[in-house]
Amino acid sequence: MANIIIDNQQYEVADGQNLLQACLSLKKDLPYFCWHPAMGSVGACRQCAMTQYHDENDTRGRLIVACMTPVTDGMRVSMEQPQETEFREQVIDALMTHHPHDCPVCAEGGECHLQDMTVMTGHYKRGFKGKKTTFQNQQLGPLIKHEMNRCITCYRCERFYKDYAGGTDLAAQSSRNKVYFGRQCDGTLESEFAGNLVEVCPTGVFTDKPFGDHYSRKWDMQAAPSVCQHCSTGCNVTLSERYGSVRRVTNRFNDHLNGYFLCDRGRFGFDFVNSEQRQQHISLGGQSVNWSDAEVQQRLKAKGTWVGIGSSQASLEDNFALQLLVGAENFCVADDPQSEHLLELHMAILQQWPQASLAQMEQADAIVIIGEDINNSAPRIGLAIRQALLNNAKQQVKNVGVPEWQDSAVRQVLPHNKVPLAVVGYQQGALAEQATIRLVADDKQTAEQAFLLANLLCEKSPKPRVSKVHSQIEEIAEVLKTAKRPLIVGGWSANNSAVLSAVANICKALANPQGMLCIAPPAANTVGLGLLMQAGYLANEAVESKLKSEECNLLVLDHTSDSRQQWLQTLSKQTNNVVCLQQLAQGENNSLSLPISSFSECSGSQLNYQGLIQSYSPASKPAGQCRPAWQWLVDLGKLQNIAELASVEHLGQLHLMMSKLFPTLAEHFTELSGRQFAMQSPRYSGRTAMLANQTVHEPKPFSEAGAPYKQSMEGLLPGQNDQHPLAYSWSPGWNSNQSNHKFRDEFRGPELKSQQGIFAVPNHPECFWFKWQASWSANTKANYKILAVEEVFGSDSLAEFAGAIQQLSKSAYVVVLPKVASSLNIEAGQWVTLDDHPTLFAVKISDHVPAKSILLYSPAHEAAISDGCDEIKVASKQKISALHKRQQAQQDVQSQQKQLHKQRLLDQDQHIPIQFIEGAM
């Protein structure tokens, strides 16, 4: 700790931080722009100027920039003397020479850091007499809007995009008063983290485009703490709602998971909740029906066994209610035997090895990725791994007495101080290109080599059938032996149990208590299903035979994947009674479908890749007949006389029942007694007027029983209770997301605080070796083995229902080796077909493809393809022109839909579903 004196007041602050961090941690209002807690200091904007004094007799002092000055014991500084306050006001004046006064039409207005800082410095009069520069804005794609005139050249965008996220298509250009941040020419920003520019930019240069189409001011939106649904990381987000529809997703700080940043799939994928395909009425074979209709009742009360199919996209509560209803022995957890096996294995590993959080991963000093496409399966984890690559450079600058938050110093020495990153497998993309050790191998070879790696580290580790160790594996073994905090990353991408087992074996062989593991499951609540699985389940392979052998009814929880739809089609041939609980209308068969609320309309919990339980709260009310799935299931329980479930009246009772079965969860499900958090800001406008076109009565504010949040402006403000997450981040004078520092220390210190929360999967310290299984050695007989790859945009079936994400999704492609391409006489960019599969694939050529294999990407909503193919043929001209026509038509439909979507949302604003507001009418 260091004692420092600010404005003649003595404070004790943590060592190792800079003066700006110290002042913000003391909750002082010191203005700043270019500094960012996650990106360190560069001293570009000079806004955080303070005066430092030599000793108590020094009355003049000298101006310093707080973000570049380390705190030292006994330092004397001032923050409120005229010389520094005047200087700070002049800095704003200079930064704003080109800034237009367009706040009323700027999407950032009301949550603009520049507005806040301008008010804070007291700047009110323009000093510069010259003309303002007018820049040309760029078209940056469907996600981000560019308005360059508003720029104050803090360089945050470039530092985030290029330095932090590794993007290569945005940089600072030109000089002096013409500095420009953008691409070389118009075009969609390539990085999957581009959406963070919206939050990183202190003013309105980069704004959220889909949000701009259906806009509302921050203070007018009802905000709910929520959890992202688009991968297993479980990033914390805030959902904002106005007039009954969810407007946007913003980052909600979580020091161990997402920190300050989200990926674009999470930020823009939420829009599926506003999709036109949302089902709002009970339907039977596509026709709207009523709950009380005889046929519906007959279906719901049907005799025979009810088989339930759970969903990794649904909440823990929904799955649990389904399990209760049908009984554990009739509860199926996976769409195919392979995923079921992977889930079993995954849970076994999770019990043995705790999973590292993202903040922990950022501290790794060696990283080995085994057969996992982490960039696409869990993009935010990929971003965390990228930060770990700086650790040796940080250590290097620390060794010469430079603090690690001196960002440009760290990046200067980075090329000579790389953290070893080993990538084994066939994944492509930015992270693989950064690899210092790279072994290109198909999934089976990856597993074999990973087993051999474990064996190199510890002789007791079982060997696979092969014994030839690649030189890269030997290198990795050496790296792992010397590393202090190695990180092993694996996952489901390769769809291979051997890979998962190998990853666990490497951890055991390492025997390093500081070692870290991360295994990424495919969906937001995969681990939640795994937890319920422990109470018993119906094997996937037994479902079909069960349907064949006895009279069965099928009860299916919503899952949007293509494989699920295909499987259901097969199953529906075996039974006459299929009841689906779904949020998005999919498939058209003779099923009865009950509309369920999305994650933005009800409370629920899910387990992330670590088994950490996190809950989300509703931001809006469900429309039409939508209800949370668990409520439908309770009603079904009443019809079918399932006493335990039928007695449930609210979520709290369901939580109690879950806690009995899984005692670890009990602590998470504590309910709030006393006052609730207000989800609307104190400035929320139109509270009494916004329903005036429908009713003169002001409805009673809505809140769920026992829930800590209330859809009202009356209640606790952010920071008044630290037991529950903030509904929104705001503090007087700090309207933007930079208000974060008012609720926590911006300086984390050298030691990470341990992760808060309940890990639902109990840890068993004793662990065992996974043996190599004979069945893993089988080879495909086809000429080319097909290895499936994923894309951030396109592989998540849920996000595909969001218009902006759909626009970014790539069409199907294959990646082949150069020699394969030349032998078949095909070129990059050409269209080919595989065997007699109808899909056309664009050809890409790369050296990083395993021998005798091709990499294949096919969008989530296109039919999947088998493991191998014999023939790659250039597509016929007719097929290509048909494809082009289809693509053109698709694009037209998409842009048309975008307009309709926008219009529909605007119309909807006039008709808020007030019937669901308690006490209305």
Partner: protein, 182 residues
């Protein structure tokens, strides 16, 4: 209101350029030599831009993409370098380029008068090239010779203590000399 636009010679974005199809062998050899002097290829960016400009007078979008391809760096990063320096021309320039200093000492020594004369004599404004493609007129932020103000730079050479006759003399020579930029 002054209008700053990003260089838009070619409206169609160039996605991928093979440097061998654009740059001459001489240029490639010279750039490769510069690369050999630095730790990282991208560090030779400024030199590469200068080399290409020496051969072609200016750096077109196509040349920019080609250099980025040769140096294996993101094109936007190279664009950042190219647009940072006022002596790298991202738009076509005439055979001769005049940079008239507009910093404080030159301002005090008749800059407005000299600028008006130059503009009238050439029939162009700052940032423009004469119709015959001979001369481009630009300003420059301080040429570092305040003691001999006013000054300008003609094709890289300093011309000091400017007055109307010396300018007329200089422009006369330019028209007489004609031909290549030597």
């Amino acid at each position: 209101m002054s209008k700053v636009t990003m260089p838009v010679e070619q409206q169609i974005p160039i996605q991928q350029v093979d440097y061998r199809a654009v740059l001459s062998e001489q240029e490639i050899a010279a750039i490769e030599h510069e690369c050999s002097l630095y730790e990282e290829r991208a560090a030779a960016g400024i030199d590469a831009l200068k080399i290409v400009q020496d051969h072609r007078r200016w750096v077109s979008d196509e040349s920019l993409y080609a250099i980025a391809d040769l140096l294996q760096m993101p094109v936007v990063q190279l664009e950042g370098v190219a647009t940072f320096y006022n002596l790298i021309y991202r738009q076509p320039v005439g055979e001769h380029v005049i940079h008239l200093c507009d910093s404080i000492s030159c301002w005090l020594h008749d800059f407005p008068k000299i600028a008006e004369h130059l503009k009238a004599k050439l029939g162009i404004d700052f940032g423009q090239t004469t119709a015959d493609g001979k001369v481009t007129l630009l300003t420059n932020v301080c040429l570092g010779c305040c003691d001999t103000a006013p000054a300008l730079m003609l094709d890289g050479d300093l011309v000091e203590n400017l007055d109307i006759p010396s300018i007329d003399n200089m422009l006369g020579k330019l028209t007489a000399r004609g031909g290549k930029n030597d």
